[in-house]
Amino acid sequence: MSTLDATRETARRPLVGRRVHLGDVILQVAAGGAALGTVVLLGLLVYKVVQGARLSISTFGLGFVTHVGWDPLHNAMGAGNLLFGTAVTALGALLLATPLAMGIALFLTELAPRAIRGPVTALVETLAAIPSVVIGLWGIIVLGPVLRDHVEPALHSTFGFIPLFGTPSSTGTGIFTAIVVLTIMILPIISSISRELFLGVPGELKEGALGLGTTRWEMVRGVMFPYARGGIAAAMILGLGRAVGEAIAVAQVVGAFDGGVSWNLFNNGDTLAGKIALEFQSSGTNLETASLFYVALILLVFSLAVNVLAQVIVRRVDRAQGRTV
């Protein structure tokens, strides 16, 4: 055998390090299986919710989405007023929470003395950790009466000419209480994302603006907000998604009322998620159960849309600013 042949022979032999280990195969299959399992779980979730709603979908069709009223006795159910209540509570909460969250995030990144920066950040994050059922309990027993006795009459007497601020509620429950409760719940979400965005604004941009003689606020408006714009939009969308999906705290304070659509914020109302939480266990007929699945399906579609939208925004901004994900 020539030297050349021997060399060829050696080269053909697999390297020791290239040997396929059984352990490698097992780990890769297990990890890959878990990853696949996650995707299957998502698919199964969508399938099961659609399957549960099928009876209601075939009975009511798309008209369910806009039909106002929930009357299981006469098999006439719709999500119209639930959608309305969800939109009003979630958008109201977003409207209150966003400026507050911007203020908190700016305070934590620009204004706070170093000594209180860490503790206040931790406290705001702790607010996010409080369970919704506890906030709901506080909402009915503590917050509701305060709003009913002080805030709602004040708003009514000042802004009563706007239909939103009609006759104050007699119970302390209602759309307005739900808005306040949801604001408390999404405030820490939006503020902690915004804080991280503001921390990411390059120092030389900020210093450049201040060096040109802007005040701090003008720097914030002219440099920090535009730089973090996409991220803030994504944070708001995530906050909106959280507010729309919150069931328990809303169910506790919103007052659960099917009477239709009312523009008075102090009236009782109902939301998609709250309806499921309150009605599911007492659901009497198959059609009503299927209709609650239908409501869950609307929530599911919405949460998927919210997530995809937020991710698209974040990606587009990253690309526009030339950052790599």
Partner: protein
């Protein structure tokens, strides 16, 4: 240019005064917003503590509720069934979600081709964004229809909530482990699986632990996933997860819907215990996070 002109430039004009005042106003508003958030937390915690403390005694944790629970006849008794139930349900949920989440993270970070990674990562975010009540409905349709409620079904629902949290936290710390460590191990002839499990994973224990503790704190207070999967319960304390088990959040929810003040009092006491548990675990998580961050900084 004469000296007088310079002094005109130096003197703050009306516009500058206005701009400065506006800036000051905005700064004050930011202070107020932050103070409001901290005050909200204070008011919430204080409300719960004030109302819950008087009902807080050993009976609450050790005694089952008296019969006629949630009825018009509120008598003595504690919420032992809820405490035991939450302990079991959250324990099983953690046992399901932790290994599964770590495996998903290992796949995403160590094995997955870029295209698969770009698909899996958003999938975890989407799972994380699904409302808890929808997950409850899903598990009801999957496990409860035909089989009845059980602690296991509740635990499965909570595990779905925990999965993206654990996986996301693990992915983040796995990405921090320097590649030189993997290369050194592989270069010494250590097989891939032993490199991953024996060299890379131990570096990330702190981060995984932090993520898990935060996930536990989050799901321990979740009501919505348990409402349809593990809520129709008697008053006796059960340790058997194949039956429906009471839990603290569901108990608070049901007691809060009641009209009797005595039920509210016990709801506050249970809320206080839940809140203390969550604040305590959040503190532990924060401490763990700081420790592991220091450790990684030292190694890097």
């Amino acid at each position: 240019m004469s000296a007088a002109d310079v002094s005109v430039l130096q003197r703050p004009n009306d516009k500058l005064v206005r701009r400065r005042a506006f800036n000051r106003g905005m700064e004050v508003l930011a202070w107020v917003a932050a103070a409001l958030a901290v005050a909200l937390l204070g008011v919430l915690v204080w409300s719960v503590a004030k109302r819950g403390a008087s009902e807080l005694n050993l009976d609450l944790i050790t005694k089952s509720p008296a019969a006629n629970e949630f009825s018009l006849n509120p008598t003595s008794g504690g919420l032992a069934n809820a405490f035991v139930g939450t302990f079991i349900i959250v324990g099983i949920a953690t046992a399901m979600a932790l290994p599964f989440g770590i495996l998903v993270a290992i796949y995403v970070n160590e094995f997955a081709p870029r295209a698969v990674k770009n698909f899996l990562s958003p999938s975890l975010d989407i799972l994380n964004g699904i409302p808890a009540i929808v997950i409850g409905i899903f598990v009801f349709g999957l496990l409860v229809v035909g089989h009845g409620q059980s602690g296991l079904a509740g635990a499965f629902a909570l595990a779905i909530l925990m999965l993206p949290l654990v996986a996301r936290a693990t992915i983040e710390v796995l990405a921090l482990v320097p590649n030189s460590l993997r290369e050194a191990s592989l270069g010494l002839g250590v097989p891939r699986w032993r490199t991953t499990l024996g060299i890379v994973l131990p570096q990330t224990i702190g981060g995984i632990l932090t993520g898990t503790v935060l996930a536990v704190a989050r799901v321990a207070g979740e009501t919505a996933p348990l409402l349809f999967t593990s809520s129709i319960v008697g008053t006796s304390t059960s340790w058997n997860p194949t039956q429906a088990l009471q839990s603290i959040p569901v108990a608070i929810f049901e007691l809060s819907e009641s009209a009797t003040p005595a039920d509210h009092a016990r709801a506050w006491a249970a809320a206080l215990v839940l809140l203390l548990f969550i604040l305590f675990t959040s503190l532990i998580a924060r401490w763990l996070a700081n420790r592991s961050r220091r450790k990684i900084a030292r190694a890097g």
